[in-house]
Symmetry: C2
Subunit: 293 residues, 2 copies
């Protein structure tokens, strides 16, 4: 069994991005600029956002944080999106989700200029990804594919079972894994809460990508010898052992599943750290106008 | 075994659409108008186009056919798309594929206003379909889903194996069959030319949607008792028995597979006739501005 060290890979990618930013600076080019919009004071969102800003600093990006209180109107937020769309200094920007209930997340996402949509949530980017065209791929699926690449894991012709059909992980990662590309070229099965024979499906999988959000859902008897297991679960569960009073739980019962695996990601330290670097990668691509002119 | 009669279902849908057009006329509303652009004189394209125009007449739509010779430039074609985008009388339009090699099909598709993209090929419509938002669903996948609906075939929790990962059939039908909806809510597996264990995968399927374009690919020993088989294959093969010198061959070895099935579509007369009525349905929705304002 080999542990996939997302933390180390992410650190390596941050270093690579930082080097590229240094070269851009030396050549007198424009420093990539990521803007982020944060509404309210949700604990999780605050943590993610602080981490994104910190990573921008580490790789040498310019970053801007625009804050609104929970009572911001949809109109005000759309006006903000419009300003960022038209701000030529901003290469890419994100609106941190979730948003308060009186605001339509979909409306906000669709208002973002897809050429600045570094979260990859705009329908144009989702559609282009499905068709196999250059686009901004959302951070978590992109991070997972990068792990396959860095560990040189064979995917062609393999059976990849994706657990979960969310718009931000399950569906896009399934779409990517079936493309005629590396990583990809898999036979892909998408399972979800309604699936019959989910256990048998997992047992036949060469690769399992678990993104259900159900702590310790995947047990040893559901995994075949030598499988690759990618755990995308990050459910907060109470813990007496941490200062914060909670810990992150993956979708995989790690202790019993890991001995059977050829490769496995831990939680934390697997897919999680890859997410933010994937956002950074998208911002770099946006800054260099590599995907859209 | 029950034969799915796509021809009869399509006739019924044409009748329903015609009735709705009659009501619109009576109420003094605008008659839906489908425009089609045809480049060159490819035999298959001519046949499809004639059939589309004829169906428009049958259901009471207004239709326009714009023809170009093979030597039309990309610029001229883009100008035509632009005119149709801005023609307020045209509710929806299609550019018949394939196009000559000197023209980028993708560029033409992306130039079409997605609100008039009744073929559902624009990345915005593809993306919105994946996310589960209202959109124009491309004709063949939409036609397949309509057959499930009309025959009241249970899909929830079933294992649906899609053979083929094309952008116009395999990927979109897989995307639809995994949505939390009816028809849908399936465990979906996408197989293709690189798949290992394709046979075993088919054997475990409750529903098989064959869209490989390989005549008689699916044999009896690949299908379990009681499966639902949808044959999307339409390969032209030589035939001494027809006037034209060829016949349409499906992806399914019908004679040996059909006795094992609970439901099966024939070729011709299965999915084929549904494709044009799905385009008509999209045009009706476009005319009524039901999806986009």
């Amino acid at each position: 069994m080999r542990l996939i060290d997302g933390k180390a890979v992410a650190a390596q990618i941050r270093k690579e991005i930082a080097e590229e930013v240094t070269s851009i600076k030396k050549a007198g080019g424009k420093i990539p600029h990521l803007a982020a919009v944060l509404v309210g004071h949700d604990g999780g969102s605050e943590t993610y956002m602080a981490s994104k800003v910190r990573t921008c600093e580490e790789v040498g990006f310019k970053s801007s944080l625009i804050r609104y209180e929970d009572d911001v109107t949809e109109e005000e937020l759309l006006a903000c999106v419009d300003r960022l769309n038209n701000d030529s200094d901003v290469d890419g920007f994100i609106v941190q989700l979730p948003l308060p209930k009186h605001i339509s997340e979909q409306k906000i996402i669709e208002a973002i200029d897809y050429r600045k949509d570094v979260d990859g949530f705009h329908p144009i980017n989702v559609g282009r990804m499905s068709i196999g065209l250059p686009c901004f791929v959302s951070a978590t699926p992109a991070g997972i594919l990068e792990l396959f690449k860095r560990y040189e894991i064979e995917t062609k012709g393999k059976h990849c079972v994706v657990l979960g059909r969310s718009n931000i992980v399950g569906k896009p990662v399934a779409s990517l894994m079936m493309q005629k590309a590396y990583p990809g070229d898999c036979t892909v099965t998408v399972c979800h809460s309604r699936s019959q024979n989910l256990k048998e499906m997992c047992q036949s999988a060469d690769i399992i990508i678990a993104a259900l959000g159900v702590p310790e859902f995947l047990k040893a008897d559901m995994v075949k010898e030598g499988a690759v297991v990618i755990d995308v679960g990050t459910t907060r569960v109470p813990s007496a052992l941490t200062k914060s009073g909670f810990k992150l739980a993956g979708d995989v019962k790690f202790d019993e599943v890991s001995p059977k695996c050829s490769y496995i990601t831990p939680v934390p330290g697997g897919v999680g750290p890859m997410t933010i670097v994937s956002l950074m990668r998208n911002t770099l691509l946006a800054g260099k106008k590599e995907i859209y002119k």
